[in-house]
Subunit: 375 residues, 2 copies
């Protein structure tokens, strides 16, 4: 029953960049794709209808956060993530490894699992890799991520080696647990090892030996030199079979995304467009707009004259500046609609240019445009 | 040019309650009507499309607040309130009298006008009744309110007498200024006098002698006994000509609205439904729902099973509780959509029952329903 008909199909290639279609229990998604972040089952400041209108195809939620509130039993009782939230397209849930290590005090990692205090109320929580699989099975997410062992950058090679070992051990136990329970969901592995290629390679090879439906690169985009990051992606490309999805976790700058796509990456997620929207930083095809800037006080133009989003079709920079200054909730909503539309539109163009074998040219042009000063 | 074709037509009566159609430069509105509050040109946590879907026909903004930010020159330069905000239906702007006296420190009232410090940055501001007319002409609002002199409850009869005198003086100067400037907008008067009938009557008669397109009752709903308030409305009904709109300012409880409609009131505004929405207090036809209550944690029902709003058609109490607990912006948005829909729906039913000559029966049934305990 597992994964039948839920594979990946490569439909176009341009260098290492590729367009694929990944089948999930709740629909087929095209890649390269950006997954808006819905940590608690809702993308901040935007509803599902607006997300669909912006072109969102899959949302990302968080196993650890949902385990804390409202709890996977509650989500399951209400029809899983799809029934509970009302987003009936595909869901991917991150395992929460990153959140556990970055948000919570007093984390203690043993072979058995992770012991830590809830960042919400201090409750002691113990999560084994098996628990993380069970929680995601209860949530009913389409793409489940294994629990990984995340280290900050920089970490010593010796510590990173231990983290990779633990990540492999946990990945194996996750897979075993997954196999015990018939499910139509997919389980994806996460490699660690930072930009130590020897360790990253080991981590990826370990995951390949276990066998997953998709392969994520974790622990990147947290301060390591860009050249080393990109080198890692290139080498990883030749390691992971071409018929498997590759997901670069948490990477949000358009510039990095464009380079990563050029190195064979398929999936991305980041809070950048939504968080920036709430902070009044808006993307445009000609650079970023800090909407609180006085110069927009009487600017009748939309954020981006070439943008077809609801916000750009209806509102001026002057009005958006006014809403931001007055701390109106509509400011967060309208800005989020625009920023997500902008991101998802770039991904549409990425896919199109790959299909047309003109990805490099598209990338070059967009990188130049983004370097322009504020409009 | 003034007010031609912008009168009021009474289309149905049931006792003192009536259904009317008021023509404004930006459309005809039916009454009894509820005006959602858009203090700074945006209703908190809801967009114009959702407002239209909920059945909003006219929005209320605030002269004093818009004068402070972004300033009437800016609004005018961007096409007036309609062009600036994108709400192209009718706008009513309150003069800001209430806000000046309740929000700002060190208010000094002279015959000439009001001197006070901005509640935003302490800037000294001096507003004469003429300025308030000029600002609203610049804003391009459809229904302009005169500057009135608002006193808290309780105030002595002697002080209230002075307030009524000042209100009349200012109303006359407002009208004179208005007549100097050709405009298609309407100017409405505001009576004061609290529940001292002798003073309220004087105030209304003074306004009638000056002549306005509509008559508001100000300074009510701030603590005076309900019986005295309702008595005042009844007596005011026989004073104001039947072919003029009557607006009871700032009154928001459904129970009071139902009684006021029964005493000939046509227009209402209040922040209650929107503010309550953000605080997680939701209206239903069977009483209020405090959404954070634990008992809703797994409640699959919509807020109100009989409600046709977007929120009730898509989301469970359990999910709405979760969003509220997690302080998601979507919580404010979805709750506001529901509460405003609930209010506007009651007004639709008010108009319908008056047209069917069954208003009293409708009022009795709804009052009974609202007394039920939380569902």
């Amino acid at each position: 029953m597992r994964a039948e008909g839920f594979g990946m199909e490569v439909v176009a290639r341009d260098g290492l960049a590729r367009v694929t279609r990944i089948s999930t229990p709740h629909g087929v998604i095209p890649t390269p794709i950006f997954m808006p972040v819905a940590t608690f089952g809702a993308v901040r400041a935007i509803g599902f209808e607006e997300l669909a209108a912006a072109g969102a195809e899959i949302l990302l939620s968080n196993t650890y956060h949902l385990h804390e509130r409202p709890g996977e039993e509650t989500v399951q009782a209400l029809g899983g993530l799809h029934g509970f939230t009302g987003w009936h397209g595909p869901w991917l849930t991150d395992s929460g490894g990153f959140q556990i290590y970055s948000l919570t005090p007093l984390v203690k990692v043993t072979q058995e699992g992770v012991r830590f205090s809830s960042h919400l109320d201090g409750t002691k929580i113990f999560l084994r890799p098996e628990d993380v699989v069970d929680i995601q099975l209860s949530l009913g997410t389409d793409i489940m991520m294994v629990l990984d062992y995340f280290l900050p950058f920089p970490s010593s090679k010796a510590r990173m080696k231990e983290a990779v070992k633990m990540t492999t051990l946990w990945a194996r136990r996750s897979k075993e647990r997954f196999l015990e329970k018939p499910a139509r969901q997919q389980l994806w592995g996460i490699s660690q090892g930072s930009v130590f290629w020897e360790l990253r390679r080991q981590s990826i090879e370990d995951l390949l030996a276990i066998g997953f439906d998709g392969y994520a690169l974790g622990g990147l985009g947290i301060g390591e030199p860009k050249a080393e990051l990109m080198g890692t992606l290139e080498k990883a490309d030749s390691l992971v079979p071409r018929d498997k999805p590759r997901y670069l976790m948490g990477m949000g700058y358009i510039e990095d995304i464009l380079e990563a796509v050029d190195r064979g990456i398929d999936l991305f997620d980041c809070v950048l467009p939504t968080r920036n929207a709430r902070n009044g930083t808006l993307f445009s095809s000609r650079g970023r707009i800090i909407i609180k800037n006085r110069k927009y006080a009487r600017d009748k133009r939309p954020i981006d004259e070439g943008c077809a989003c609801y916000t750009c079709r209806h509102f001026s920079r002057a009005y958006l500046r006014h809403l931001y200054e007055r701390e109106e909730i509509s400011s967060a909503v309208l800005n989020t609609i625009h920023n997500l539309h902008f991101y998802l539109d770039i991904f549409r163009k990425i896919r199109q240019s790959i299909a047309l074998n003109s990805y490099r040219e598209f990338k070059r042009q967009l990188l130049n445009q983004l370097k322009e000063s504020e409009p």
